[in-house]
Amino acid sequence: MLSSSMFHRGLRLLLLAAAAIVGTLGASATIASAQSDDEAIVKGTITDTDDDGARVGVAGVVISALDAEGTEFGRSTTDGDGNWSIGLSAGTYQILVDVDSLPEGVSLRNPDKNPAEVRLIEGDEKSTLFPLGEALVESAGGVRVIQLAVDGLKVGLIIAMCAIGLSLIYGTTGLTNFAHGEAVTFGAMAAYVFHVVGVFGFRMPLIPATVITVVICGASGGLFNRLVWAKMRRRGASLIAALVMSIGFSILFRYVMLFQFGGRAGFYDDFRLQTKWDFGVFSIAPKDIVLMVLSIVVLVGVASALQFTRMGKAMRAVSDNRDLAESSGIDVERVISSVWIAGSALAGLGGVFLAVTESISWDMGFRVLLLMFAGVTLGGLGTAYGALFGSIIVGLFIQLSTLVIPTDMKNVGALIMLVLILLVRPQGLLGRRERIG
């Protein structure tokens, strides 16, 4: 982690950049909202096996979505990698592969499953598979528990990255920041703008786009603190007023993003669909391995920064006991400012990661926010390490719970867990009881 003085020196520059970006967001991002009434997506990949046994996408296959009467609502043609996707509004559709568009000598393995029926609810993103003749079926494979645990770990690491800021902001200022989810969405969206939409007609690969995004997120977090929350603290506003404000911001930002980007899910061009590596007991896409490794590196970095740097120690001290920290000469406002910058940057990075493994949508952050709350509560509100452990457990729990509950309700499991934790150990795994009297 950077030292705080560097944070502050860089801040002014970053703010300029952020202002420029916000401007371009307004100008360029409406492109995506052309189909804003699409509420859900159905997608898939049509692949065949080549002579070496490797899977290759089949291009040029036509897929359409029909309703029960046979009216067509959308159509897609597979690209070079065999990918297709159709944006639709909520409802029930028959997804039909035009068999005539398949290459010579290739046929569907289960012709009776064409068309396939899908039922879409708003925000859905469903995959429909049409395995070909001799081709391998794309399946989770492996031992289900291990597969789910690996997926859960991945989700948990990303939640953790997003949640550290939430927890530290709570610890240092007492604010339960409901707008933290929008920092996650903002990260995913900003990278989308640089990478897919383009700024002044220039589009860059995802990796540099992510770097810029993280900087912008940190800067806007710092700016947000300075323009709003620092003022509120100085005015001595009550924590409840601040909490209500953060909810207001959350709604405002969320709907501004919906307005700009539309309700449809988006994807980055890079790393979009990768063949999974099969490790026998589980399989995983290479990008997900990279994400997990990167998340671990970042989280270990954050933990050691908290443990060993001066600013990190100061952050923990302020979280622990603000008055004591202040009286022992720590510049509390400066620490809080750094917490906002670092926490928002991490949330933005988490947003990009989440978008890479899943997709981008206007309310992705809000949904993760609830999982963050579950993680942070489990670990102990206000403790940085608690957020880390709690989130990972929540991630594992969400995925593993699909062993017993329907996948579309997996997040319910995490939220139920949240309630149970509060019943059993409200201060969380690493938390502490409070002073009275």
């Binding site: 502490r432 009881r433 009275i436 009297g437």
Partner: protein
């Protein structure tokens, strides 16, 4: 009953920590509370005599407030038992402790700012019929009781020199007035034992004197008082018995006159090996 009578109750009680009393209303055994590595309270044994005024003194950070919290179940001890009138308190929630007759005030006053002074007082009354949601809609079931409570509250406000503030928001009171309000409110509960955490901090001397008389009057009516106080004059003046805490432990007990000469107490207040006797105000 006279003060002498009360003093007699301590006849034969040894002047040492954990001494047994003739008629203890509260008995504490092995109560311990640690915050992380810091052991804030570690009391082996303490008995509080019924119908007497007991002072709990000790340097800052000795653990007095924490001990109060543990006795009233506002905080849970890591170990130990507390018995009030023979009843073990471990599984009794804080509000039940109050309705058993043990009422406490807070060092940092908790006056209810956006409620009027009289409403603050009325809140203290127990067994209010109108506090049931069902009956709240039927005013005739609770009007009479409310009127009686109001009369009693007004008497107490008079006593505590707060009558003129009766209808003001409690948030407009001064610091000392809040202390008074909190004490008066605790008395509205009609407790058998009151526990006051620094009740007189910030109260002007003239009023203090009249309140001390009031507290003595309460004792003479049979109420037990346990209070924390740093002002040694006051301790000397009204307490029948003094308990000294330092670093979480009870280090001395005895009548007020005995405490100043106790070497352990002198060490606790001034650091070890200080020879001069401690001026705890007994000669004024």
């Amino acid at each position: 009953m006279t003060a002498d009578n009360t003093l007699n109750r301590f006849a034969g009680v040894p002047w040492e920590p954990g001494a047994a009393k003739s008629d203890p209303v509260l008995v504490v055994d092995g109560v311990r509370r640690a915050f992380g590595g810091l052991v804030a309270v570690d009391v082996d044994h303490l008995e509080v005599q019924r119908g007497a005024i007991t002072a709990l003194i000790g340097p800052n950070g000795a653990g007095k407030t924490t001990f109060f919290n543990l006795l009233t179940n506002f905080d849970t001890p890591d170990a130990g038992t507390r018995r009030f009138e023979g009843q073990e308190l471990s599984r009794v929630p804080a509000h039940r402790v109050a309705s058993l007759g043990m009422v406490r005030t807070f060092q940092l006053t908790k006056s209810l700012s956006k409620m009027s002074v009289i409403d603050n007082m009325l809140l203290g009354a127990t067994h209010q019929r109108g506090e049931s949601l069902r009956r709240s809609l039927l005013p005739f079931t609770w009007r009479g009781q409310e009127a009686a409570n109001t009369a009693r509250a007004d008497e107490l406000l008079e006593r505590f020199k707060l009558s003129h503030m009766r209808n003001e928001y409690a948030g407009t009171l001064s610091g000392g007035q809040r202390k008074l309000l909190e004490m008066a409110r605790a008395l509205m509960v009609e407790p058998t034992m009151v526990m006051l955490d620094e009740p007189m901090a910030g109260v002007n001397p003239a009023l203090k004197q009249s309140l001390l008389d009031h507290v003595k009057g309460l004792r003479d009516l049979g109420m037990t008082v346990l209070f924390v106080e740093h002002d040694m004059d006051m301790v000397q003046e009204i307490s029948d018995w003094v308990v000294v805490m330092a670093e979480g432990r009870i280090i001395a007990e005895g009548p007020p006159s005995s405490i100043g000469e106790n070497q352990a107490v002198v060490d606790a207040y001034l650091g070890a090996h200080h020879d001069a006797p401690l001026d705890l105000g007994e000669d004024r």
